[in-house]
């Protein structure tokens, strides 16, 4: 049960944009909290190398899908918060549709060919 499932790098990279945008659609957030949320949502199955989140954030920022601002955190340190922009919401909707299509296709294949799929562990903690 505790076997660690490795999700391959390409999948992680492809899914990082919708995941980050979806988290920001809930509320503005900052790097560490975003990663924590990813871990919660995936039940620890999506293991991102922490540092890699930031280039992704910067790309979204450059594309105008998120907007960043500096604030002073409770501990007195400067912290960079990200919020989703209207453009980011459009992108999120778009990604949502695409992933639904991928998901539907895969479901179709799994059911018709009835390939044995190892049951995935339920998300633990939250």
């Amino acid at each position: 049960m505790s076997e660690q499932m490795e999700i391959n790098k390409d999948l992680i990279a492809a899914s990082s944009t919708p995941i980050v945008l979806a988290i920001l659609a809930e509320a503005d957030s900052y790097g560490y909290a975003i990663l924590k949320r990813v871990r919660e949502l995936s039940g620890g199955r999506m293991e991102w190398t922490d540092g890699m989140l930031y280039p992704v954030m910067h790309r979204l920022e450059r594309d105008g899908e998120v907007k960043a601002r500096w604030e002073v955190a409770d501990n007195g340190r400067k912290r960079k918060y990200y919020g989703i922009t209207p453009r980011g919401r459009t992108r999120l909707k778009d990604e949502h549709k695409q992933w639904q299509a991928v998901d539907a296709t895969l479901r179709g294949i799994w059911s018709t060919r009835s390939i044995a799929i190892p049951s995935s562990p339920l998300p633990q903690g939250a």
């Binding site: 190398t49 922490d50 540092g51 890699m52 930031y54 280039p55 955190a73 501990n75 340190r77």
Partner: protein, 457 residues
């Protein structure tokens, strides 16, 4: 909860980690702040769940990811950061913005002043025509270098005593360039015109280095500045040539000939103003753009070394002596000057603490082969110098040859000592920077003493 000493220890560790990050060009200061915030929050969460600060630090650093991978990822996202850009506005708001704008205004005013200064003699009946060629040649450095010196004196807040001394130097230079006894004296006068800029360049150096002129590092910076200035000036001149060509061409198309304007205004004024603009660019971009001269030095040092070894080998093999033409000494002077420049600029770009490597061996081969080639030439010339007679030209060339020869010989000694682990690289730096006044002194002798000694030669 971490104790006080633990958190101090943690700060030290985070400082180190931050410095590693800062060395990555793709990761900028703001990114470091962001990553550090992440690291600290991770650590505090881990310590709350029972880890010691040491353990928490290690885990947090590991989770952030390997620096190489991280910096690659940043580089992919921010590829423009790998190309150092010349941003005249400071990247982070630490530096006051006003300083840069003020600097630009001062420099462009001085460049304009230099351009006008070039045209000033025309107002007093010395137009820029062939008959006055000598006048302009003698005074060329005086149109520009006082203003350049003034710029650096202003920028570096040079002490009033130094300032007075610099003023005296330039006034004296004006006298030597124009008083009949020194200036209108045939060959010696022309030699003076050629040597005056060399002598005055040291005055620029004194202003450039400011209070650091007495230090090796201050002089080294001036050497670096001179090299980069040369490269920038050449580039601006090339650009100026293209600009002028296009301007003449399109005006020609509507039947207007710009030749006179270009010759008597654009080129001389542009050439004078460009020195100041180029100096300012070198100042502004210092740490932003890779220095070009050391790169060229790396390329050409091995080429010159191979060429000289081949030359010496061929001479030995064929038994040919150095032909004794009139100008051969000047040719060898230039060769030594280039070897000194190659040495100087590889010294200027070398980390003095680095151990001796293959490039140092190439450097020594270059120096020694240049020395041998020069000695062969000197031998051939010295044997017959009495036949030629001691003209001003020949004495000047001989003097320069000896000055460069002494420089290179001692450099070779110091360098070989360093290679054999018996001396430090800094002694080579010290020798080279300490030698700078010698060039200026010799140039001053040529300007001042030669016209008195070689009358009407």
């Amino acid at each position: 909860m971490p104790t006080h000493s633990e958190s101090a220890q943690l700060d030290v560790q985070i400082d180190q980690w931050r410095n590693f990050l800062r060395n990555r060009r793709a990761i900028q200061a703001v990114d470091v702040v962001e990553l550090e915030d992440h690291l600290r929050e991770q650590i505090s969460n881990l310590t709350e769940s029972g880890l010691s600060t040491d353990e928490a630090f290690l885990v947090a650093v590991k989770r952030i990811g390997r620096l190489d991978a991280l910096s690659n990822e940043f580089a992919r996202e921010h590829s423009e950061r790998l190309w150092k850009q010349l941003v005249l506005a400071p990247a982070d708001a630490a530096e006051p913005q006003g300083g840069i704008a003020r600097d630009a205004i001062v420099v462009f005013s001085l460049a304009l002043a230099a351009a006008l200064l070039v045209k000033l003699p025309a107002l007093f009946g010395i137009p820029m025509v062939n008959a006055n060629e000598e006048f302009y040649l003698r005074n060329a450095s005086l149109f520009v270098l006082p203003l350049l010196t003034a710029y650096f004196a202003w920028k570096r807040n040079v002490a009033p005593a130094t300032l007075r001394w610099l003023a005296v130097v330039f006034v004296a230079a004006g006298v030597f360039a124009n008083v009949a006894l020194f200036a209108h004296n045939g060959t010696a006068g022309m030699l003076g015109a050629l040597h005056l800029p060399i002598a005055l360049w040291i005055a620029v150096g004194v202003a450039y280095a400011g209070a650091r002129w007495k230090e090796v590092a201050g002089r080294m910076d001036f050497i670096r500045f001179s090299g980069e200035l040369f490269i920038y000036y050449v580039l601006i001149a090339l650009g100026g040539g293209v600009f002028t060509g296009f301007m003449m061409m399109i005006f020609e198309a509507i039947g207007i000939k710009l030749q006179p304007f270009v010759q008597s205004w654009l080129i001389p004024c542009g050439a004078a103003g460009a020195v100041l603009v180029a100096s300012w660019l070198v100042e502004a971009k210092q740490s932003v753009i890779e220095n070009m001269v050391p790169v060229l030095t790396r390329l050409f040092t091995p080429l010159f070394a191979v060429m000289l070894v081949a030359f010496l080998g061929t001479m030995l093999w064929t038994g040919r002596g150095v032909g004794i033409q009139r100008d051969v000494l000047i040719g060898f002077d230039l060769l030594l000057a280039i070897v000194v420049a190659l040495l100087l600029y590889s010294v200027s770009a070398r980390d003095p603490r680095a151990p001796a490597g293959a490039f140092d061996v190439v450097q020594i081969v270059l120096i020694v082969s240049a020395l041998v080639a020069d000695l062969v030439a000197l031998w051939a010339i010295g044997a017959r110098i009495s036949d030629f007679g001691f003209s001003a030209n020949r004495v000047a060339a001989l003097g320069e040859n000896i000055i460069l020869l002494v420089n290179l010989s001692w450099s070779a000694v110091v360098y070989i000592r360093f290679l054999r682990g018996r001396g430090s690289f800094t002694s080579l730096e010290r020798w080279q920077t300490g030698y700078l006044p010698v060039y200026a002194a010799w140039a001053a002798i040529v300007v001042i003493v030669f016209p008195l000694v070689f009358r009407n030669s």
